[in-house]
Symmetry: C2
Subunit: 598 residues, 2 copies
């Protein structure tokens, strides 16, 4: 494998030389800074051979380096073999950042190329600031794959659909009005954005151009009286076209966005969110118009679900939870579990979800991880490469669906037979953290940084930590990872740390991951709601949306505090009450046993 | 009272008019941003009548406003009555910050006066940036008290003493070497500082110029080979002078600091901490030298206590705790408590401390607050104005001493007789929070923002909050409030939020304050120490330094979780074991009862 990539990098170097450039930078991104990128945009993988979801490739005349994070050190080590690409382990001692490396390895007058459409305005300008101060020139107009990647997959271009207001809760007209009010408040006369989920939310549209994210590739240029929506050809049918035009919008070709911005004329400033627009697009505006930065208000408007969305979500999670309960029943009553693999089990669950009303796909590829595989947080089994299940140990299943009524995400870890004392202890500590956060009460003004320790403390007391955040926000029939909610104990510099508001949806997912041994994660989705307001302040709490029991075979009640037990018993009582009516009789009676007080 | 202040503000307005100025800003500060300021510097109090330790007064032609924080809302409300000064409750909804207020109330061409020596470089430049961009001019040369405050007290000028290395743990030479190494790392060839406790720590000196803070008014200009220490005349005796000169230092007059900086000559940059030097002093440097900002490393070096300091502190807290236990014994066995007042009780405790070895004064004026007075967080009784104690309800005593072996701080709330159900409930919830933080385990990298909720959650669950931080750092025979440790759930923009390191000393002081009814605070001082290090990280925990029992008459054990009870019982067992040997027999046997398991 490595030879192909070594050859491709050779071609890239010749192209660089032809363009009188000295280095090229290839991030992992589409034009929208999407979490998942479609095959068309996997240029970094094309050149390096590394298939992970996060990484940056830099190629100079003498060297090619790939930066990736701790999740992928082992995988990247294998995949880069023979390619001649050097692995740069991010955040390890002595490893320079990409930017430090470029500063050190390029000199005065040399040129760095990249595709300015695949880098956010913030990242691009940070890079430009550092490099240009050293006399290194930037050329942001090169698509490195051009002319080399001859069998490059087409860009996905699914049909754009309108999400009825019965699902969305608010009409696109109302949302446009609210966003325009914020534009006025900020003194802008237009705003430009390429953040796909914001734009889907704003216009009540959905698409299918990013795996598991129901979004269409698009850009928006919004003025006070009209707007331009940049869509791929053939993706908007006459109904969508009429819908857009009725709101004062115009559909323009997706690829004309940057050129359009370069020619836009405005009296006042154009608002951009430096994390929600590409360097190329922002540069086109900055070249001739006044630009004012903002944090797009769509982020927060979208994160705080409206009452229709909340009502739909509650029902959606009930049904989705019932499907997962049926799946667990199936697992626990399987006549011969060794006939199944991680993959066939995942297929079973996916098929159960697909039968639910309003189903529109998975919200991410189901993680079904047995035994030691579950210690890899982002493990994904496929048909050729899946562990066989056995009637012992634990299976971790992290899964979710897209429905017109919401996006779900849930993890349960199940005993398939006898388990060790250590597994029970660690499962119970994880449960204690999960329950403690579920039961949190906090003053309005708290962020995820204040709350994180509630989930982690039972594990920390035993000297155990999980190397990821505790919780993320979740979209409404949109991305399963949705900013800004974020529950973690520390934030990377520059990352958003927003106040948790009533109506926000967050995950609560502590875990224990012991390499080569086992993995445990318990993920319950929570809705934030008002508790009480008095002279001491406005107190908020959570209400679980996910209603799936914890595994009694893995719980050691003596390790739970009476408070934890009370929260668990209350939660289980609610699970039975709301889910049993949705199950066949024998599953309901099994659920009854599973939800009896501990 | 208010009339005097109203009159003084009138005089100030006339002075403003004479100087063709439109407003004056009077912070609560000496030239060192000290927490407590000596009477000479109490200009804000002189004009407004508000005696609290924190507040800012702004006077314009039409209005006078005083900003203070939640600790002082009740007290300021009383003290400002009749003065015409408007109370601005910081952080309350709709209340502008001082700077927002000045921006809104001054216009193009108007002039704001202040004393540039009484404002930090950071605060002064932030203010200058905001106001000057609106065309408002700043005049930093006005001491507002001049010519009005005719009976202004002299500046204190106590004798400077050397702290023996047996107490300090490290010699001043070693500390100078370490700081100069950090200066070299930062590329500076000199550093200037006016932060009193840093300078006392660095040079192993102590003074008595700030109430309860054993510091001498001074400034430092430190070069790689020599240094100038700016001291008030007559404060350094020949021994101190020789000590300084032996280290390559020179003593110069205190008031010549700004002038000296204006004439200093350096090849390279001068390092300043914008929070540790005045606007006036920094401006003198900036006018002709290259200035580089840093966070003074002395802050962190001082906060992480060395092994000698820690050993001394542990012993110091044992003795101090024993004195408080004796005081509580006295209170609880008083033949007729109604013969005592808040003030006489405080005097009694202060006298008991004064008999302890190495005693060098109080670390702050003892707070002895009975009944509803305790709802005022920083209530201070004096001989003329102290509530009489009665054999019922609760007495809150917050107190501490300065010793050559450390600085102590402790709060206990005691029942003096029958108490209400509500008092017991709120005391127990406060205790639960106090114990939960005491028992915390956390990864290195956590700050006080991560931990705060541990102390607050039992109260938040009942819809109760205390309007102050949970914990502060504490000096070693230095200031009782010492940055950087800080346990709070939110930080003011720009305030320091440092990682908690082993060897740091922090307070743990949740409370309940119900206006006109009662106040509860339980404050225990904790030392941070290593717990364990493994592949998941470096785990830290706390060890209590304060060893004084909680009040069993106020504890309702049924409201404590078994974990809380375990932590309490373990703590009480340690209290008995370490403190009983220091007490007379009958007090020791009383302590035994007080520390039996609940």
């Amino acid at each position: 494998m490595g030879e192909i990539h070594s050859k491709r990098i050779g071609q890239l170097r010749r192209r660089l030389a032809g363009a009188r450039a000295d280095a090229v930078l290839i991030p992992t991104s589409d034009y929208h800074n999407s979490e998942y990128v479609s095959d068309h945009f996997k240029t970094r993988e094309f050149f390096s051979g590394f298939t992970g979801s996060a990484g940056t490739l830099a190629v100079t005349a003498g060297e090619a380096c790939l930066w990736t994070d701790g999740r992928y050190f082992v995988q990247a080590g294998h995949e880069l073999e023979g390619s001649g690409v050097r692995l740069m382990k991010m955040q390890e001692p002595g490893v320079p950042t990409t930017l430090e490396y470029l500063c050190d390895n390029l000199g005065q007058g040399q040129v760095l190329c990249f595709d300015g459409r695949c880098v956010t305005d913030r990242a691009g300008r940070e890079m430009a600031g550092a490099l240009e101060s050293r006399g290194i020139r930037l050329d942001s107009s090169m698509d490195p794959a051009e002319g080399i990647w001859t069998d490059r997959p087409q860009r996905p271009a699914g049909r754009v659909r309108i999400l009825d207001v019965a699902y969305a809760g608010l009409s696109a007209e109302d949302k446009l009005k609210a966003v325009r009010q914020r534009m006025t408040d900020k003194g802008g006369c237009a705003c430009a954005s390429s953040r796909l989920d914001d734009l889907m939310w704003l216009l009540n549209l959905r698409g299918s151009d990013v795996e598991c994210n129901p979004v269409a590739l698009c850009h928006l240029y919004l003025r006070m009286e009209d707007f331009c929506l940049f869509l791929q050809e053939g993706t908007a049918d006459p109904e969508v076209t009429a819908y857009i035009e009725n709101m004062g919008g115009r559909i323009l070709p997706y690829d004309s966005f940057v050129e359009y911005l370069a020619g836009a004329e405005e009296e006042g400033p154009v608002l951009i969110d430096p994390d929600g627009i590409s360097y190329a697009a922002a540069a086109a505006l900055r070249s001739h118009l006044r630009v004012r930065e903002w944090v797009s208000p769509m982020q927060m408007m979208k994160a705080v679900k409206n009452s229709t969305e909340l009502a739909n979500l509650r029902e959606c999670y009930r049904r989705d939870s019932a499907a997962l309960c049926s799946f667990i029943y199936w697992l626990k009553h399987h006549p011969d579990i060794s006939q199944e693999t991680e993959y066939t089990a995942a297929m079973r669950l996916d098929a159960m979800r697909a039968e639910l009303p309003d189903f529109a796909g998975l919200s991410f590829p189901t993680i079904s991880a047995y035994g030691p595989n579950a210690a890899m947080m982002h493990y994904e089994a496929d048909s050729d490469n899946a562990a066989q299940l056995r009637p012992e140990g634990m299976l971790l299943v992290d899964s979710g669906g897209q429905y017109l009524t919401g996006t779900t995400d849930v993890t349960r870890t199940m005993a398939l037979g006898p388990v060790t004392e250590e597994m029970r202890t660690d499962y119970t500590l994880t449960a204690a953290g999960n329950l403690q956060l579920m039961d949190a009460v906090f003053l309005h003004g708290c962020t995820g940084r204040n709350l994180d320790i509630l989930s982690r403390e039972p594990l920390w007391k035993k000297g155990i930590d999980y190397k990821c955040g505790t919780g993320h926000g979740i979209g409404y029939y949109l991305n399963v990872h949705e900013a800004p909610p974020n529950i973690r104990w520390r934030f990377l510099p520059g990352s958003r740390e927003d106040v948790i508001e009533p109506g926000m949806i967050v995950s609560d997912e502590p875990g224990v991951y012991i390499q080569d041994k086992f993995g445990i994660r318990i993920e319950t989705i929570l809705e934030c709601e008002e508790m009480t307001e008095n002279s001491d302040g406005r107190f908020l709490r959570f209400r679980p949306l996910t209603l799936v029991p914890l595994d009694r075979e893995l719980l050691e009640p003596s390790l739970l505090s009476p408070e934890n037990r009370q929260v668990l018993n209350d939660y289980h009582a609610r699970v039975y009450e709301e889910i049993a009516p949705l199950l066949p009789e024998e599953e309901a009676s099994w659920l009854r046993e599973q939800t009896l007080p501990v």
